[in-house]
C-alpha cells in the first residue's frame, strides 16, 4: 500500500522555524513506522534525523508523536495508524533537530528521586542473596518494566505546563524502589516526591498510562504512592 508521512522538520543550522515535509512511499501494513522512517532517510532524504536502536520496543530511543499520540516508532505498525501518518517530536522537551529532543531535563528528573537501590544493612553472613518472597517481589514487578522512553512524561499536561514536575517516569522509578521491601530509603524518596514538584502535580489525566508502550499501570502506581503519602504506610 501507499503511505503518506507528514514529518516535522527543524534544523537550527538553517531554519528559523519548523515546518512539515511530506513523503509518499510504498509500505507493507506490517511494517513498523520505524522501518518506513528508515527508508525515507535511506532513500529519499538523508538529512532526516531521529534516534533509534533496538527496533523492538525495549531500548526507549524512538518515542515520537504519531498521529498525535506518543508511541515508539518501532512498536507501531503501519496497520495500527493507517496510510496517513503524521510524525512529530514528543512534546515538552526542546527540539534539537527534526524528531530529536533534548532528553537531559527528563533524565535530570529521574536522577532526583534517588533512582538506585539503597540498603546499608550488613549483607547475609553467607555472602549469598538477600531473601525476598515471591509476593514481595511481585509487589513492584510492573514498575521494573520502565525503559525511560519518556512517552508517559511527555504526554502529561502537568509536565507540559512546567518541566520541574518530576513527571510520571520518575514516579514510576520511585515506586519501583519504594515498594521493594529490600530497599531502605522509602521515607527519603517519599519526602522528595511529596514536595511541590512531585505527586501533587498529578491530576490523574491518565495520558501516561495510555501512552506507556510497556503497559505499566502508571496512574495506579502513582495512586499507590499518593496513598502512602496520605497514610504514611506502605500497604
Amino acid at each position: 500500500m501507499e503511505v503518506t508521512l507528514k514529518i516535522f522538520r527543524y534544523n537550527p543550522e538553517v531554519d528559523q522555524k519548523f515546518h512539515y515535509e511530506t513523503y509518499t512511499l510504498e509500505a507493507e501494513e506490517t511494517d513498523r513506522v520505524l522501518d518506513v522512517l528508515e527508508r525515507i532517510k535511506g532513500q529519499k532524504d538523508g538529512t532526516l534525523s531521529f534516534r533509534r536502536s533496538c527496533a523492538h520496543g525495549v531500548c526507549g530511543s524512538d518515542a515520537l508523536r504519531i498521529n498525535g499520540r506518543n508511541m515508539l516508532a518501532c512498536k507501531t505498525l503501519v496497520r495500527d495508524v493507517g496510510e496517513k501518518i503524521t510524525v512529530e517530536p514528543i512534546l515538552g522537551l526542546k527540539v534539537i533537530k527534526d524528531l530529536i529532543v533534548d532528553m537531559e531535563p527528563f533524565f535530570d528528573n529521574y536522577k532526583k528521586i534517588l533512582p538506585y537501590f539503597i540498603n546499608e544493612s550488613p549483607l547475609p553472613a553467607d555472602g549469598k542473596e538477600r531473601l525476598q518472597s515471591a509476593e514481595a517481589r511481585a509487589r513492584f514487578d510492573e514498575t521494573t518494566k520502565c525503559i525511560l522512553c519518556a512517552c508517559c512524561t511527555t504526554s502529561c499536561p502537568s509536565f507540559w505546563a512546567s518541566d520541574d514536575y518530576l513527571g510520571p517516569a520518575a514516579l514510576v522509578t520511585a515506586h519501583r524502589f519504594i515498594f521493594d521491601d529490600r530497599d531502605e530509603a522509602a521515607a527519603e524518596r517519599m519526602q522528595i516526591i511529596s514536595e511541590t514538584s512531585g505527586l501533587a502535580r498529578c491530576h490523574t489525566a491518565y495520558n501516561c498510562t495510555l501512552a506507556c508502550p510497556r503497559e505499566i499501570p502508571i496512574t495506579q502506581a502513582i495512586g499507590e504512592l499518593k496513598m502512602v503519602s496520605v497514610t504514611g504506610k506502605l500497604d
Binding site: 535511506g42 536502536s53 533537530k97 538506585y116 542473596e129 531473601l131
Partner: protein, 597 residues
Amino acid sequence: MENLHQFDVIVIGAGGAGLMAGLYASRTAKTAVISKLYPSRSHTGAAQGGIAAALGNIEKDTPEWHCYDTVKGSDYLGDQDAIEFMTNEAPQIVYELEHMGLPFDRTPEGKIAQRPFGGHTNNESGRPVRRACHAADRTGHMILQTLYQQCIKNKVNFFDEFQVVDFLMVDGKAAGVVAVELATGQLHTFHAKAVIFATGGHGRIWEITSNAYALTGDGIALALRRGIPAQDMEFFQFHPTGIYKLGILITEGVRGEGGVLINGKGERFMPKYAKTVKDLASRDVVSRSMYLEIRDGRGINGQNYVYLDVRAETVNKYAAIDGRTNPDGTPYTVTGEEILKKLPDIIDFCRTYLGVDPITQPMPVQPTAHYAMGGIPTNVYGEVLLDENKTVVPGLFAAGECACVSVHGANRLGCNSLLDIVVFGKHAGQRAAEYANGADFAALPTAPEQPARAALEVFYKGDGAEKVFDLANEMKHEMFANMGVFRIEEGMKHALAKIRELKERIKHIKVSDSGKIFNMELINAWELNNLLELAEVTTVSALARQESRGGHAREDFPKRDDANWLKHTLAYKKDGKVELKYKTVAITKYQPKERVY
C-alpha cells in the same frame, strides 16, 4: 586545545560490560564512560532469558559442571583456564548483582529463581539443569538498569551520545580516543592512561538479526586499524528462534519452560538430532537442525521457517513423554497463565509484530544472527593481547561482546554472555585502574583529532553515485545467504568478492546532510564502513578454516578437525589486506571429544 579531556581510565560503551568496568574503575581512578547511546539504550537491555551461575537454588549444580558444559558448548575451542575462572566467579557475581538491588524472580523460599537453558546440564544424568538466574524475560533490562543506577549512585562520569571515532596509540601504548559529540558535531579528544573497549557486538552485518541498529562493531574496527588483531571472527552465533522475517529474538527460555520446535509435518524434530536434551541442545546444533528440516522441505508449508510451540497442551504433552518432573518429583505441567507470567515480553512481541498469540498459537521462527563469539583478544583481566605469544598491549583493555577471552570458543551457551560481561567488565575495570595508577600519560600525537576528521570527511567527497542504505542492504543480504548457518567455499568466495566490491563502492558515497547537529547520515556511513571491515575479516577467517566447529559449519568440511584446527584465528589488517595467524587453545581438564547432546 579545545575539547580536550583527561581521565585515568576511559571506558567506551555503557552496556553491561562498560557499566561494570566504569563502576569498578571509578572506585580508584578518575574514570569516564563514553557512549554513543544513552546508557539505558544499550543492547544489554534486550537480553531476555537469564544469567548463568551454578547457585544450585532449585536442584544440585556445581561450577565444575557449568565449566564442563561451557567447554563442550564451545566445541573445545574455548580456553579452559578462562572458562573455569568465569564459572567459578559466577555465583558470587550474581549475588553481587542481587546486593545491588537487581530484582531477580524468586523461588518459594525467597532465593533467586533459576530455569533450564540450552546446553546447561546435570553432568551426572545428562539432563537439563536449572542454572539460568532470571527476572521474567527481561533479565538484561534489569542488569542494565541496575548497573546504570549504581553508576548514578557512585557518581560515575558519563559522556552520553558521544561516538568514539578513533583510538589513539602512541609507541604501542593506548593514549586515548577521539569522539564526536553527536549534539554538536564537535570532535573531542580524551587523553587517557587506560582505554577499555566495551562496544558490544556487530550483528548488523546480517539481514535477519536480533541485534540493534547500534551494533556496528565500532570497537573491533577501530582496534584493527591500529594493528590490534580480531580473534575467531568466523564464529558467529545464529540463534535458532528469531521471529520469522524480523529476526527479533524469542528467548531459549521458551524452550526452557517446555516449548518445542515443530516442523511442517507437525513433528517435534529435535529428538532426531539430540536425543538426550532435545530442544535444549546447544544453539549451533538446533539452528543446523532447523536448517536441515527446512532444506528437506519440512518447513511450515514448505517455507523457510518452523514453529516454536509453547501452548500449555503442547508443553504438557511433551513434558509427559520426556518424563520431566518438578524438583519435588511430581510431573511437570504448566497453564497458559503461568506461561504468560514467565514470558510476558515474548508474548507481547508476538502479539505486536505478528498478530500471533503464543498462548493459543505456535510462533513462526527462523535462525537469526545473534552473537559474536569473536572479538578483540584479551586475557581474564581484560588486557588486550597483541599476538600468538599473548603479548599485552600496555593500557588497552576490552570486555563484553566486543572482546574474545575466549570463554565461548566456537559457540556460546545461552546465559553465558550476561555472565561474561559482568565478570570480565569488573576485572577489566579493576585492572585498568590499577594500571593507570602506576602509569604516566603517554604524550598525545600533535593534532590528535586530525585522522578522525579525515575519516569522516571522506564521506562528503564521493560523487554521490551510491547510498549507504543500498550498500548496507546488499551486504546484509549477501552475508545472510553465504555466511550464515551453513557455509561452503564457493559461497564464501562469492561473499568475499561482494564485500570487496562494496568496499570500493562506498567511496562513491556523498553525505547529503552538511550540518553538524545530529548528523546521523554521516555517522551511519562511518558505521557501515566498520561493518564492511568486519564482514571482510569474518569471511577471510571462515574461508581459511577448513573444518566445521560450533558456529562455523561447512558443507564441504563437515567434520571437526582437531589435528589441524584446534587453534584460535588471529586476523590482522595490514596495508588493506587481511593477514591470519593462529594461537593455541588452553586445554586444562577436558580433552576434546565428540559432542553429543
